[in-house]
């Protein structure tokens, strides 16, 4: 639903209706409109939250009050269009309070901030429940909560806690003349966007194939070459721009974190500030969506376990208010999200003790501090002294790492005892394209993502080490890597060279490494990742397919899956 439609809808007077069972008739009848309403409401609620947090810092800023008022007003209007009386009524109540505040007759104090944030929570819940309610499924009853909150808002309106501010506010805009200073937007279903991205990818590939066609190459005509180059340039611009349409700033996720930290800080009585940077960094929509949960988890961990209580902080000479920093930035074709705290840092000794006690590490094994810190990502690892409501249940960093790796990302931790911990998450810009190296094995072509490759080389005779008469290890400088033929790992047939004549690719995943022997490297290429579909869901070691420059399909290797295959495979593989 566009803002305009919402505004038009609210222009006519709408009675505030009581909660009626059939208020969702329109919602259920038009799934597209319903989905838009939910997406829209969630967008607005996210914005409100972020603005309220700013408002908390400068309660006299009437422009901020107005920024909170507008989205509430829009939600109310949209709910009105769909006839969802309960949400409309609730939003109206909050809007009344905000309207008084922005006209300068009601001052914003801690009570009001609290009420608005609570209202956001209740609205979120109410919006989330809509699909279930419309489908006739039972949901948790939140009407009492709504009622109580609305009564509290009424009370706050009747008895302002703080005196009204300086009565010289700029005249606030009335609802009918709200200025829309955002660039106009159109909401499009992700599926439609994905189809366009797919087709543009196909166009780029088709052009490459055309360009490489011998018949075209034989035409030694400047004009044809120029025109073909022109079309290619347009296609590549088109590809870049369509990719950009899938990209969204990470801002919304960051805003959620700001709210979370505020709540956590109260709950654990650990005063802290969260500094955000790089909120405008853009990532594939899907990456942003899937990163929200892991980030929330890390944030909880940081406040609960990472930060010391204020008295402890003061005792060691730190400021009582802890500092958290959440930053996003571009680095070499990736996006890095860093979460840093200035808390107590990881306790290396205790992590090791716990790991030994849990049987994750054998007693007496010497590990570097970095290796010990890696252990916190192990499933079932938790050193929390007490199990709290939010964290410390032992499902934690392993889940975070799994989620990050599912996005083809990586997570690392750096810590200094007493000074704090920084988690760094490296994410690909998009899930649609991967930078890969094309490998040849017999007549087959494979693509290995560049990020998974440490190095590649032609082996010297001295580097290869046999074990029980078979070539099975390769030495690179002072490190030994298990060496396998890619063809053997995957179980593909066809002619292939002896290991001594092949090229060796050292790939790594999740701290483990493997040397793969392939016939040759054919070059680096950005490829569009295509899923192989349901039929090949159980195939291990293959992440998808990519259409190469000659129109053939190269299979994209999944290093994690290859390592798992090797771990399971019998030792005779490297014959």
């Amino acid at each position: 639903m566009t803002r305009k439609a919402a505004r038009r809808a609210t222009a006519r007077p709408e009675p505030v209706t009581a909660i009626v069972p059939d208020e969702l008739a329109a919602f259920a009848a038009d799934p597209e409109l319903a989905a838009m309403f939910i997406a829209d409401a969630n967008d607005h609620l996210g914005n409100i939250e972020a603005t309220v947090l700013k408002l908390e810092a400068s309660p006299a800023d009437l422009a901020l009050v107005n920024d909170v008022f507008r989205p509430f007003h829009t939600i109310k209007g949209n709910a009105g269009v769909l006839g969802i009386g309960s949400i409309q009524e609730f939003a109206h109540k909050v809007e009344t309070l905000l309207d008084l505040a922005r006209s300068g007759t009601h001052a914003i104090g801690p009570t009001e901030i609290e009420l608005i944030l609570k209202a956001v929570d209740v609205l979120k819940l109410a919006v989330d429940q809509l699909p279930a309610r419309a489908a006739g499924r039972p949901v948790a009853d939140i009407s009492t909560e709504c009622r109580t909150l609305m009564e509290r808002i009424d009370a706050a309106i009747a008895h302002p806690s703080s005196p009204p501010p300086d009565p010289s506010p700029p005249p606030a805009a009335s609802p009918s003349e709200i200025r829309d200073d955002e660039p106009s937007t159109v909401k499009v279903q992700t599926k439609k966007l994905d189809d366009v991205v797919d087709m543009v990818g196909e166009l780029a590939i088709a052009l490459t194939i055309l360009g490489e066609d011998p018949a075209i190459a034989r035409i030694a005509d400047d004009r044809v070459t120029r025109r073909l180059a022109h079309v290619k340039r347009i296609a590549s611009d088109l590809q870049r721009d369509t990719m950009a349409m899938r990209m969204v700033p990470i801002r919304q996720t960051f805003q959620k974190m700001a709210r979370l930290v505020r709540d956590l800080s109260h709950r654990f009585s650990k005063p802290c500030t969260l500094t955000l940077a790089g909120e405008d960094t853009e990532l594939d929509r899907k990456v942003v969506e899937l990163m929200t949960d892991p980030l929330m988890h890390m944030m909880r961990n940081a406040v609960d376990h990472g930060l010391e209580p204020p008295d402890e902080r003061v005792a060691v000479g730190k400021s009582a208010t802890a500092e958290l920093r959440l930053t996003a930035s571009h680095r070499g074709g990736c996006v890095i999200v860093d979460l840093a705290d200035d808390g107590r840092g990881l306790d290396t000794d205790r992590i090791l003790q716990t790991a030994v006690a849990r049987g994750l590490v054998e007693r007496g094994v010497t590990l570097t501090p970095a290796e010990i810190h890696e252990l916190i990502f192990h499933p079932g690892f938790s050193t929390a002294d007490r199990v709290t409501e939010l964290s410390g249940r032992g499902v934690g960093m392993d889940v975070v790492r799994r989620n990050v790796e599912a996005l083809r990302g990586r997570i690392e931790v750096q810590t200094a005892r007493g000074r704090g911990t920084t988690f760094s998450i490296q994410l690909p810009l998009t899930l649609a394209i991967v930078d890969g190296i094309v490998l040849a094995v017999g007549s087959d072509r494979f693509v290995i993502p560049t990020f998974a490759v440490r190095e590649s080389f032609r082996p010297q005779p001295g580097q290869l080490q046999t074990l029980q008469g078979r070539t099975s290890l390769v030495q690179v400088r002072d490190q030994l890597f298990p060496l396998l033929r890619l063809a053997d790992v995957l179980g593909v047939q066809g002619a292939r060279r002896a290991i001594a004549d092949s090229t060796i690719v050292i790939c790594h995943d999740n701290g483990r490494s493997l040397a793969l022997a392939v016939d040759e490297l054919l070059g680096k290429q950005e490829v569009v990742i295509k899923g192989l579909g349901e039929m090949f869901r159980t195939v291990r070691g293959i992440a998808g397919g990519a259409i190469l420059g000659d129109g053939r399909i190269g299979l994209i290797l999944d290093t994690g899956g290859l390592l798992a295959l090797v771990a399971k495979a019998p030792a005779h593989a490297a014959a």
């Binding site: 087959d444 195939v539 291990r540």
Partner: protein
């Protein structure tokens, strides 16, 4: 079963038919990318104008054994309904014959072969112009390939 239009094709000496509404197009055999860890009759994937679709060899699926691909060998691209989704699949056949109008009266129910021949995926037998066409339920023939397990070593 009801009659209707069927695309008929040859596999060895037998003639088969599939509902024409399921067929998207017929293409020449092209470069097939082999995918590891799948049964023999799953040949791999092809690039159909930018889409990656799986290709099944119906000869191998039915146990006819291998033959060289000839100029008459085709890939029939069809829509197949798997458990949850509809996917495009390619089916390699020896040669495509014709589109046949099969009347309801011409179709016999599949006789019971007492378990020696799997007939789950046969819709019926059509007697047309003195020959028998085996009408296939593609969803059943290929549906069982929808969730391939890794081959156990």
């Amino acid at each position: 079963m009801d009659g209707g239009k069927f695309l008929t094709f040859a596999l060895g000496d037998e003639e088969y038919g599939v509902p024409v509404l399921k067929v998207r197009e017929i293409i020449k055999v092209m470069d097939i990318t082999h995918v590891p860890q799948v049964p023999d009759h799953v040949l791999g994937v092809i690039n159909l104008r930018g889409k990656v679709i799986p290709v099944i060899d119906l000869r191998r699926k039915f146990g006819f054994g291998l033959t060289e691909h000839t100029t008459r060998t085709c890939i029939v691209v069809a829509d197949v309904d798997l458990a949850a989704t509809r996917v495009m699949m390619g089916i390699v056949v020896d040669s495509v014959s014709e589109v046949l109008n099969v009347g309801e009266a011409e179709v016999d129910a599949t006789p019971d072969f007492g378990g020696r021949v799997t007939t789950d995926y046969v819709l019926g037998l059509a007697k047309v112009k003195g020959t028998v066409k085996i009408l296939l339920d593609l969803d059943r023939v290929l549906g069982s390939d929808g969730q391939l397990g890794p081959r156990t070593a």
